[in-house]
Subunit: 148 residues, 2 copies
């Protein structure tokens, strides 16, 4: 019985996307370390990178080689997003005050977008995507990142 | 004369801290890549890392080895800040919509701080530090990071 109770507090064995991210974003594909998602908000081209590391909340929870991979994937995805959107500025952030699972926001900002020049969080209500525009965004991003 | 005009559009030869960051923050010291600053806002323990790379605006403007160094310095400084503040969450971000010079915010967040759980930007007016508290923060951070 003691053993059963111990097992109850063990961390999960497999990485799973946090249900809130599952709900708020759509999957694009997986890089070696991270899952790429698009936030369901047509106000901004807004991606998330979620390292598939069980229990990681902070960047400093990752092993050094995972941090280096994360930086490489941030650069890869940010460059693709900048190329696709011709944005004026990239905003890149790990906040996680509400959803603890480590996730990196990579957002393409444009002068005159609905929150400019403020950061995007809490500024404007999310705007639904036209489903075909969202599909197109997923596909062009997958092409650009050589995901098959 | 053509040559003179060309020289006028060359980038500056030496890195200089952006005047707005000079005004809004105090210097802690230099790591190999980045200058560490403390934001003049006692609401939050709030650091900036500014890579001393001429002309860098985005993380993807850095060379790959500079990005890897930046990630290592982010982790080093974030771990020190977490240790010193026993914070609940780290917020780490490059925004730069107003001040273009590449700078990374590393902010120690606490449940119940003046902006919690929102990101800090634009939430509450900056609060002046007690000068001795700020000196103490600079010194303990320098000690923790082995800056002499």
């Amino acid at each position: 019985m003691g053993r059963t109770m111990e097992m109850n507090v063990e961390p999960p064995l497999h990485w799973m996307l946090h249900p809130r991210l599952e709900k708020d974003a759509v999957a694009v594909g997986d890089l070696l370390l991270s899952r790429i998602l698009i936030m369901n908000d047509a106000n901004f081209p807004w991606l998330l990178l979620v390292p598939r590391c069980v229990g990681a909340i902070e960047i400093i929870d990752l092993a050094e080689h995972e941090r280096m991979s994360l930086m490489a994937e941030i650069a890869q995805v940010a460059a693709a997003l900048k190329m696709l959107t011709a944005c004026d500025k990239l905003n890149i952030a790990t906040i996680g005050n509400v959803v603890p699972q480590l996730h990196v926001h990579i957002i393409a900002r444009r002068r005159g977008d609905p929150a400019w020049p403020k950061p995007v969080w809490g500024q404007v209500a999310p705007l639904d995507y036209d489903p075909r525009a969202l599909d197109h965004f997923v596909e062009t991003l997958r092409d650009r990142l050589w995901l098959d």
